[in-house]
């Protein structure tokens, strides 16, 4: 039973006062503490609090059920159930105390020693814990009880000894975490002895988990104590025990089922109280440690006017594949929605390549995932439309959209290895995908899989099909991921930084592969990147994103020769291969503001070297400066003049 507590892993506690305050604000904790306190006091004061002598028999009132005279009824010999519960609780609570004392008195020092010293001590202690956990605790205690009949103290001490591994492991891992911290190292250097270091610097971080474990162990100890009492192994039948009273009730289950209720319920509720208290302490300790810091200030961003990007005129080009309009993505978990992507809009035409560029945290990937309806939990589309050949993808049912995924829009992510299921071979995953899309025989699907692997220029497709993700190099894994995306013969492939994690030579190969595949299949490509080299190499048009917005949008040639937004200009200048020779590599000062802390007016203004008063007056619209070239900068004329000067 005790082995299950071992699953609980928690962080250390240092802000003890805050933890205590948090605990006392939790109604569950208060209820548990109050209940346990009352039970303890009533049991300790049994001679005063119990209405009757627990051994007094009254054969006139046998199995009475609750009456005004006997509040919880009487048992088979007419003894008062309430009084027997109060007296029986003394033994049970003492037993719980014995178990908890043994387990903490031995488990905590052992865990501290193992975590603090490491090395062979750690290994020996670890082996000891492992061995004990493989032994069914109850059986060992039964051996003890066979030699020392009805000796409950011996039973509880043995149970405590067998419970050591759980608390030992928790203390050890908490100690390990603090041991390497700077101030502990400093204390060691400054010559404090080990006992002092452990006492002053390590123990304050360990007591929180220890109390949690002790509370949970108390629950198990009571479960165990009532269990052996139920089996009649610890006391003679006349002595009142909680477990023994349940056993007695079981003999009259057909005549008076009520008798089960008081003792059984009291045991269950007391165990529940210990368990809930342990959980509540854990929550308080974890939050006190730093959970509060994570609760970021939710600044309410004033939603700018919903006018959105100026609608692009539908020019004469045919073959529109994807049209994104006013796409708005926000966090959905917190009470106040924080926008992540702010009314983004663009079109993608058949056979073309659209680049989306910007620093990390500008909303590029979130935009792509929103189009695929694969946003991670906690994010949701809060406005806008995504049209796929006239249908709005966002309002489509999940079932319909499932059919479009893969066969219309496909996706390649930036982490090639982790984007493949580690548990199945490449071939078996491909076969499953092929059979889902084309409903062919397994054999046929296998040969299609090999053909696909050959199409993505893998050397030994037969061999690759039999390997697992972890056996592939990054470049090979990315080729496999592209093969996955190609199974449904998509009309649009969204590649999210497909080369970022790869070596430079491999990057060029993957880009070459994407270009070739695009030429062969005629599919459109959205390429998310922060690398101008990639954009220059493969894209027809590009979109620049900053702080959730599109700040510039144009054909690739125009963007390189005539950038119309200071951010684009800064990005271009900070790219090594594009900077002018011998000029200092300029990077943009500052960093991208995180969602929720976007400046209300021009979001780039704090980092912009061209900023003027007019930039700070209100939200800046995306303006068509030239046909097919738009910018979210109201000083575009001045900047344009300076940039070309």
């Amino acid at each position: 039973m005790s082995v299950l507590t071992d699953q609980i892993v928690i962080g250390p506690a240092s802000h003890s006062h805050q933890s205590v305050r948090l605990l006392l604000r939790n109604p569950v904790a208060i209820a548990a503490i109050t209940f346990l306190g009352i039970v303890t006091l009533v049991c300790i004061g049994a001679p005063v609090t119990a209405p009757f002598d627990p051994l007094h028999q009254d054969l006139e009132r046998v199995l009475s059920g609750p009456t005004a005279h006997n509040l919880l009824g009487t048992d088979t010999l007419g003894r008062d159930v309430l009084s027997r519960l109060i007296y029986g609780g003394r033994r049970s609570l003492l037993s719980v105390l014995e178990g908890v004392v043994v387990v903490t008195a031995l488990g905590v020092p052992m865990g501290l020693a193992a975590g603090y010293t490491g090395g062979w001590v750690d290994r020996v202690v670890g082996k000891f814990a492992e061995t004990i956990m493989a032994v069914p605790a109850l059986i060992i205690v039964l051996v003890v009880l066979a030699v020392l009949p009805q000796n409950e103290d011996a039973a509880m001490i043995s149970f405590g000894l067998l419970g050591i591994p759980a608390i030992l492991r928790v203390v050890r891992s908490a100690t390990l975490r603090v041991r390497e911290d700077l101030y502990v190292a400093a204390a060691r250097v400054s010559g404090l002895n080990h006992v002092q270091i452990v006492k002053r610097h390590i123990f304050p971080h360990v007591w929180g988990p220890v109390i949690v474990q002790a509370s949970l162990f108390a629950a198990y100890a009571l479960l165990f104590e009532t269990g052996i009492a139920y089996l009649g192994l610890t006391a003679d039948p006349s002595t009142p025990t909680w477990g023994g009273m349940v056993a007695e009730a079981s003999t009259v289950i057909q005549r008076q089922a009520w008798l089960l209720v008081p003792s059984g319920t009291l045991i269950a509720v007391t165990i529940l109280a210990f368990g809930l208290l342990g959980d509540a302490i854990r929550d308080a300790v974890v939050i006190g440690e730093g959970g509060l810091a994570r609760r970021a200030p939710t600044s309410v961003v004033t939603k700018p006017d919903r006018a959105g990007d100026i609608a692009e005129p539908l020019n004469g080009r045919s073959g529109l594949v994807l049209r994104v309009r006013d796409l708005w993505v926000s966090t959905t978990s917190s009470a106040a929605e924080t926008p992540i992507v702010d009314r983004v809009g663009f079109d993608v035409y058949a056979g073309e390549t659209l680049g989306i560029i910007g620093e990390s945290g500008c909303g590029k990937s979130v935009t792509a995932l929103a189009v695929l309806r694969l946003l991670p939990q906690g994010l949701g589309v809060t406005g806008g439309q995504v049209y796929w050949q006239g249908d709005d993808l966002l309002s489509m049912t999940e079932r319909l959209f499932d059919e479009l995924r893969g066969s219309s829009v496909a996706y390649v992510s930036q982490e090639p290895q982790s984007s493949l299921d580690p548990a199945f071979t490449v071939g078996s995953q491909l076969v499953e995908l092929i059979r889902h899309h084309q409903r062919v025989s397994r054999r046929k699907a296998w040969s299609s899989a090999i053909a696909l692997l050959r199409q993505v220029e893998l050397q030994n497709p037969d061999q690759v099909a039999r390997t697992y993700a972890h056996e592939l190099s990054g470049g090979m894994a990315q080729r496999v991921a592209i093969a996955f995306a190609l199974v449904g013969r998509p009309k649009l492939l969204i590649a999210d930084e497909p080369t970022t994690a790869l070596d430079v030579t491999v990057q060029a190969e993957i880009l070459g592969l994407l270009r070739r595949l695009q030429r062969e299949t005629g599919m459109a490509l959205i390429l998310i990147t922060h690398n101008w080299g990639v954009i220059a190499d493969i894209c027809d048009r590009a979109v620049v994103m900053y702080a959730g917005q599109i700040v510039e949008k144009s054909g690739i040639r125009e963007m390189f020769h005539k950038p119309l937004h200071p951010y684009t200009l800064g990005l271009l200048k900070s790219h090594p291969s594009l900077a002018e020779p011998r000029s200092r590599l300029s990077s943009i000062p500052g960093s991208v503001p995180s969602p929720g802390s976007w400046p209300p007016a021009c979001r780039f203004s704090p980092r912009c070297r061209f900023v003027a008063d007019e930039c700070l007056k209100g939200p800046i619209p995306l303006i068509d400066v030239e046909p097919g070239h738009s910018s979210r900068c109201i000083r575009v004329d001045q900047i344009f003049a300076k940039a070309s000067a």
């Binding site: 956990m133 060992i140 051996v143 009532t226 548990a423 199974v487 449904g488």
Partner: protein, 313 residues
Amino acid sequence: MLRIVGNRLLLSVPLLLVVSTLTFLLEALIPGDVARTIVGPQGTQEQYLQLKHSLGLDQPLFTRYQQWLENVIHGDFGNSLFNHEPVTMLLNVRLSVTLSLVIGATLLAAIVGVLLGIAGALRADIAGTAVDALSMVGLAIPNFFLGLLLIALFAVAIPLFPATGYVPFDASPLDWARSLVLPVVVLATPGIAVVAKQTRDSMRAVLERPFIRTLRAAGLPRRSIIFKHALRSAAAPVVTVLGLIFVASLGGTVVVESVFAMPGLGGLAVQATTQHDLPLIQGVAVYFTALVVVVNLLIDLAYGWLDPRVRVE
């Protein structure tokens, strides 16, 4: 993979040795005297000495241990002090009852727990809260109390299942199954809660991993992604928990077999304890440990099946 199994088997030998030694030495280490206990306060000194001799307790400890260990290796745990039958025979007769209960409970915990856990991972609000509440209550109700409640409800009030007793599979498969339902449910209840919690947390983590996104983007249906791909990757910690549940259920049989009057090893252990029948209870301890060793081995094999990376290490 073979090496992992081999290592595990090699490691299990010392474990079995440690446990058998421990159970044997406990008797010597614990202040107390079995012979005195058995003879009781009314027994004469002569009876006491005679019993001590017949139990071999007058021999030096090491000689006794050597003798005992040699016999155990040959599958001989000696004779029961109570009815003088060979311990091995007594245990083997009852092994199938305990195995039926523990395997049944582990399977039930696995199936119900995993389904609840998946529901909890997919619908955080309703199913998630239900899993939390259930796990608290499931862990807090003592198994003997839950057993008696179920008997009161489903054997006495509504007679669906027999209140107590065990029907061998050979006698009647249907009655065998009916006799197992209530005790298996009782044994599995805390396990269901733990498995559900572990599955939920582990599924949540896996569903956030990039490969799930790849498979969804490639168009694979949700059913296959959740039950085939996500579950497979989420399963390793669940399997670990199932191993712990097996061990916990094995301990639980001691109480549950007594509640339901099942003739298994757990009930035998209680009987041996009250009768101070040391050879018998030592036998039960070694059997239980051997079962734990076998289960740990199966778990290692499961890790290898679940995660190909383990196979090559």
